[in-house]
């Protein structure tokens, strides 16, 4: 017994594994690799076939965008590129660790839309006095105004589950709840429970603007819509390649009434020789 057990593994090692042989044999059964393009837009498609672990034929199609960059390098620049490292940089390992690419994207923050020049916050304050805090800073997560931005919402984790099932109107006021009784995290603190309602409210205050002209920018849309009331967010969809507007954008108003007014006035409004189409944005699919 003992002898056969030793012999077996050595036999296997000498012979190629049956699985490997099979794979090789199957290769010519597969349809050939196909390459389409690159076309005028530089789109290249590669279609390959292979067998997956269940021995089923799988088609793998990959789409590439081929881009050519032409750089005119000066003679001296090319020469300098080949220069030997010197000084402390000779130690290559150290040099590699010195340079790193930031993982976070940094943008040129344009926090003041043009034409508004800082008087906007004041304007919104006066129109919003009934809200108490009356600022543009509205947390889309918990609905608090003037306390923090959405990204810094301290109740981020608490309110998350709410997203999955929209709360019905049976919000029990915290005052009714006896001390010691269990209060779900989303109901803790009266303002917060109201907040989750308000959050849905602000989400609904999103207005979709379509038929925008190609050179519309976020600042333009902001300028157009901020006349109706405080705006928390403007977004204009831009083509990644050309940087021009793709023809639609979204505006979030703080107040629903302002959004309604904007829709009423701006729908059918001629803007940049095009007629705008303004409507409520479709609610996010849950």
């Amino acid at each position: 017994m003992a002898i056969t057990m030793v012999a077996n593994p050595s036999n296997q090692a000498a012979k190629p594994r049956w699985a490997d042989v099979d794979d090789d044999n199957d290769d010519y059964l597969l349809p050939p690799r196909k390459v389409i393009g690159p076309d005028a837009n530089g789109i290249k498609k590669v279609i390959e076939y292979k067998l997956n672990h269940e021995n089923k034929l799988v088609r793998v199609s990959k789409t590439y965008r081929v881009r050519k960059f032409v750089t005119n390098a000066r003679k001296h620049v090319v020469e300098r590129r080949a220069w030997r490292k010197f000084g402390d940089a000779v130690d290559e390992d150290v040099g590699v660790r010195l340079t790193m690419t930031s993982v976070e994207d940094v943008f040129l923050d344009r926090h003041m839309p043009y034409g508004s020049k800082g008087e906007e916050p004041k304007k919104s304050q006066s129109s919003q006095n009934e809200e108490g805090s009356g600022v543009l800073q509205v947390c889309r997560n918990c609905g608090r105004k003037g306390d923090h931005w959405t990204a810094r919402c301290p109740y981020k984790d608490l309110n998350q589950p709410n997203e999955s099932f929209p709360d019905t109107s049976d919000v029990t006021s915290v005052k009714d709840v006896k001390k010691g009784a269990y209060v779900p995290p989303s109901r803790r603190g009266g303002e917060k429970s109201k907040g989750s309602d308000m959050r849905r409210g602000t989400e609904e205050n999103s207005v979709r603007v379509t038929n925008l002209s190609e050179d519309t920018r976020e600042a333009d849309l902001n300028e157009l819509c901020s006349t109706f009331g405080p705006v928390t967010r403007t977004y204009v969809s831009n083509d990644q390649r050309t940087g021009t507007c793709r023809g639609f954008g979204f505006v979030n108003f703080v107040n629903r009434a302002d959004a309604e007014k904007a829709i009423k006035v701006l729908n059918g409004y001629g803007y940049d020789n095009l007629i705008l189409h303004v409507e409520w944005a479709a609610p996010r699919t849950k």
Binding site: H76, D88, G95, T99, M100, Y114, G243
Partner: protein, 326 residues
């Protein structure tokens, strides 16, 4: 854009300079070792070892062969850019603060700080083509301004020298005779120390940044005040875009109060302003301390900033930046 972070210096940055082709970036810091980087990927090419004090300023010749650095060790050194070898040392009796090569790279203006009873001075030296024939002698020495001269640069055709410093006055001197030609007006000029001075790419005007929380644009010939850019923090560094009408201001609160406040409140952004409209365009955040140095790549497609935090951040602009319309 994803900035490239270069952590080659252990102490605060003091100055950044691109060569003319924009492929090399020279950085000076308080840690005695000026460093050269490839400006496209931020790779370190080499260091220039030899100074024994903070390096305040540098300039590189048009052909990118010679580097000159000014240091607090009371010297200015001439280097071979490629090898990192020290070619010559100009010795002074007080710390050297700024250095600028004139058109043709034959003349250099070096400023020295007031030190041990000596007043601040502007020295003009001749650079010889062959380093072995280099002499230490000054062609011209200008004395007069009170306090430190933070920056002195050449005017058009090397005919004038423009200086600015702690006395908040911009002065234009005759580079032949050393006579004071023009002086900025006390009324319209800066109210506090001028920290930085940068010429436009065509050399027709220049920008000064001051601790009085403003930057001013001047005509290089008439010293006429053209524009004023107001900001809410002291300006430590300024630069101008060579392709767009943008100026960049860098600054932040005093180093002493940095640690006591949140970095978000410190306003350590590089602020972009429209050169003509004087309006703020936006800011680029990232540094954990005040920005001490700014430089625009001569191709206008990237800029770098050096901070009190010891980092150089190299920003290559996205296409968005060039689409900004006002």
């Amino acid at each position: 854009m994803r900035p490239i972070l270069m952590k080659g210096h252990e102490r605060p940055l003091t100055f950044l300079k691109y060569n003319r082709d924009g492929d090399l970036l020279f950085s000076c810091a308080k840690d005695h070792t000026p460093t050269v980087w490839f400006a496209d990927n931020g790779e370190r090419l080499g260091t220039y070892r030899g100074h024994n004090g903070a390096v305040w300023c540098c300039d590189v010749s048009r052909d990118s062969k010679r580097l000159i650095t000014a240091s607090a060790d009371q010297t200015a050194k001439l280097w071979d850019v490629q090898k990192g070898a020290e070619l010559f040392t100009f010795k002074f009796d007080s710390p050297a603060k700024s250095v600028d090569l004139g058109v043709g790279d034959k003349l250099v203006v070096i400023t020295t700080d007031p030190f041990m009873g000596l007043p601040s001075a502007i020295h003009v030296k001749r650079i010889s083509g062959d380093p072995s024939e280099q002499s230490d002698e000054s062609v011209l020495t200008i004395k007069g301004p009170q306090g430190r001269i933070n920056r002195a640069v050449w005017g058009p055709l090397n005919r004038t020298i423009i200086s600015a410093g702690e006395d908040a006055v911009v002065r234009i001197w005759d580079s032949e005779t050393g006579k004071l030609l023009l002086e900025s007006d006390k009324e319209t000029g800066h109210k506090k120390t001028i920290t930085s001075l940068a010429k436009s790419s065509d050399g027709s005007h220049f920008l000064t940044g001051s601790l009085d929380k403003s930057a001013k644009l001047w005509d290089i010939r008439s010293l006429e005040l053209i524009k004023t850019y107001k900001t809410e923090r002291p300006v430590n560094a300024v630069t101008l875009s060579p392709v767009l009408d943008h100026v960049v201001l860098g600054g932040g609160q005093d180093a002493s109060s940095v640690t006591t406040t949140d970095h978000r409140a410190g306003k350590f952004e590089a602020k972009f302003y429209h050169k003509i409209l004087e309006e703020e365009i936006g800011g680029v955040k990232g540094h954990f301390g005040p920005i001490n140095a700014l430089a625009f790549n001569p191709d206008g497609k990237s800029f770098s900033s050096g901070g009190e935090d010891g980092y150089v951040r190299l920003h290559h602009f996205d296409q968005d930046y060039f689409n900004i319309r006002i």
